[in-house]
């Protein structure tokens, strides 16, 4: 007689064994944890509240222990009950359910709570990210002002914070070393530490000042757009505004698509980012912003008719973005990225791309 197998082996797409018996085995494991928690907790409780004198019957004592003692004592059985209970609940909920059914039922609460679409997803467009964060800033000339991805102000703040905190430590060390010297004692270890910290502190200040000057000299870049979200086959008016005090050898505007894939294997989390589409929109040469004002210019971007829309799932994404690359005369080249969201085409018929014929299999019966 073949015994039931309490396991399932996954071989790529194939899965051997029985999910049902595997769930039973898993449920049994968690049930044991719950039982262990109950037994352990019961033993602890009985041990804490009973006093057994050598010459008499055990008598229960009033609860004389502080609440913290109870908390610590019940931590272990509590953990067993919580872990075992949650696992058991999960097993019961997923009992005998296929992968598709579990995925469908997990999605249901999200759909109900968020009026029919998952949180972070555009209504009516599964898998398409919402663009709420991109349309909450009105533009001065066009309808929306796009936020910048990873703004340099945060980098500047980070440099400044590091330099400030580190040099605060340097000051403390310097004061300590000064007192030692004044009192006639020489603490070589403290002095060595001070020199090391001072060197790093000076480096931090230099990096921060350089970043500050760069940000100030180059100036902010802003992008405004006439409408959002974007649609395939449509054109959009874009305003580029560039501040700064120097001359730019060139300012370039691009439209890009980036794919992101995140994978955990072993203990590594790996994110692969690849640009799969780039369309140069326009280039301006020898740009000189007027002092106190900014360089403003318009351009038109077009989303290709058969373009893939923006996509976002837990570990994968397809992102559209407007990219500005500037080449200042006396400073390094900078690149600033402005994310946009492209929705699927509203029409039922989308243009057929000639480069996309899938092999037609004769006798289409599942093979």
């Amino acid at each position: 007689m073949r015994l039931p197998q309490f396991f399932g082996k996954k071989r790529g797409h194939r899965r051997t064994g029985s999910h049902l018996w595997g769930s039973f085995g898993e449920g049994l494991f968690y049930a044991c944890l719950v039982a262990a928690g109950i037994v352990f907790g019961g033993l602890l409780l009985s041990g804490m509240v009973r006093y057994a004198p050598a010459d008499g019957q055990p008598v229960p004592l009033p609860w004389a222990y502080a609440w913290c003692v109870w908390l610590l004592t019940m931590l272990i059985p509590g953990a067993l009950l919580a872990f075992g209970g949650s696992g058991l609940t999960r097993v019961v909920r997923a009992w005998g359910k296929s992968e598709e059914r579990r995925a469908a039922s997990e999605r249901m609460p999200e759909m109900l709570d968020a009026m029919g679409h998952a949180v972070g997803e555009a209504p009516g467009h599964p898998g398409v990210p919402t663009c709420d964060d991109l349309v909450n800033s009105p533009g001065t000339i066009l309808r929306y002002r796009l936020p910048i991805e990873s703004p340099e102000s945060w980098t500047l703040f980070g440099f400044g914070l590091f330099a400030g905190l580190w040099n605060a430590v340097v000051v403390v060390l310097a004061v300590g070393a000064g007192f030692e010297l004044v009192s006639g004692r020489t603490d070589w270890l403290l002095l060595a530490l001070l020199v090391t910290f001072l060197a790093v502190g000076i480096g931090g200040i230099v990096v921060f000042v350089r970043a500050l000057v760069l940000a100030t000299a180059v100036g902010p870049t802003q992008i405004e757009i006439c409408d959002h979200p974007l649609l395939p086959g449509e054109q959009y008016d874009v305003l580029l505004a560039q501040g700064g005090s120097g001359v730019f050898r060139s300012l370039e505007l691009f439209l890009e698509v980036e794919e992101l894939a995140t994978f955990r294997q072993g203990t590594d989390t790996r994110t692969e980012r690849t640009i799969v589409y780039r369309e140069p929109v326009r280039e301006w040469r020898d740009v000189q912003p007027v002092p106190g004002a900014r360089f403003e210019t318009h351009a038109t971007i077009m989303i290709p008719p058969a373009a893939m829309h923006s996509f976002a799932s837990e570990h994968n994404a397809i992102k559209w973005r407007i990219v500005v690359r500037g080449s200042p005369e006396r400073w390094p080249v900078f690149v600033r990225v402005f994310p946009v969201v492209v929705f699927p085409a509203p029409a039922a018929i989308s243009p057929v791309a000639s480069a996309r014929p899938f092999a037609t299999v004769a006798g289409e019966v599942g093979s």
Binding site: K9, R15, C32, A79, F83, Q265, A359, S367
Partner: protein, 216 residues
């Protein structure tokens, strides 16, 4: 064909890039030794008992430690021995390991991935607690530790070639898209890291086959 086999039909399976994570993740391919032969997982499990119940799988990055750990965990479960799994991502995850040990029944095996992330003091404490509650540890680590070594995972070009041979769909492209020289070059470029080598082969396959995938 085994009776009662629950097997997903291969008919109409869309293959695409055979090096995608779908086909190369731990568990998708059975663990192989450095010569490319299937590892006798049951024998390794039996060896663990001789090592005192706790041991380490030692190997460099991308040498198949996690794949082997997962296979051993399933083998333990098949034998009726509960096997827990913990993946260490930071030093503070030692608490997670302790919690898992305390929740494990006596005789269980706790599989810990990336044991080298544990500081020595925490590792010693974890081992003490595990011994006290009768829980066995099976860990992966990049270098030998105080735990006895169960197996050392070593990689060779032959191992990478054996993995590639097991991937679906390569033969369907009507010719060798990925040749032996590609496998050797990927292995060489990534100093024997199988995982990174497979990523490179993914890129090579994509570069050469930017056309619709084959339907089997």
């Amino acid at each position: 064909m085994n009776a009662n086999a629950g097997v997903m039909a291969a008919a109409d399976m869309f293959v695409g890039n055979p090096f995608s994570t779908r086909h190369t993740r731990p568990g998708a391919i059975p663990p192989l030794d450095s010569a490319g032969r299937p590892v006798d997982v049951a024998a390794l499990c039996a060896q663990l008992a001789f090592k005192g119940g706790s041991a380490a799988i030692v190997g460099a990055h991308g040498s198949g430690k996690t794949t082997l750990l997962e296979a051993l965990a399933r083998e333990f479960e098949r034998a009726g021995i509960p096997a827990g799994r913990v993946r260490l991502r930071a030093r503070r995850d030692a608490v997670q390991v302790l919690r898992a040990i305390l929740c494990s029944p006596a005789g269980a095996v706790l599989c810990v991935d990336s044991w080298e992330r544990m500081v020595p003091v925490a590792a010693g404490l974890v081992r003490l607690v595990a011994r006290a509650v009768g829980c066995n540890l099976l860990v992966t680590t990049h270098r030998p530790t105080a735990l006895p070594t169960l197996v050392v995972c070593a990689t060779t070009p032959r191992l990478l070639a054996a993995i590639v041979d097991r991937l679906p769909g390569l033969e369907q492209r009507g010719g060798e898209v990925i040749a032996d020289v590609d496998i050797e070059a990927a292995f060489r470029n990534h100093a024997g890291n199988i995982r990174e080598s497979l990523y490179e082969l993914y890129d090579r396959f994509e570069d050469r086959t930017r056309r619709p995938p084959v339907r089997l």
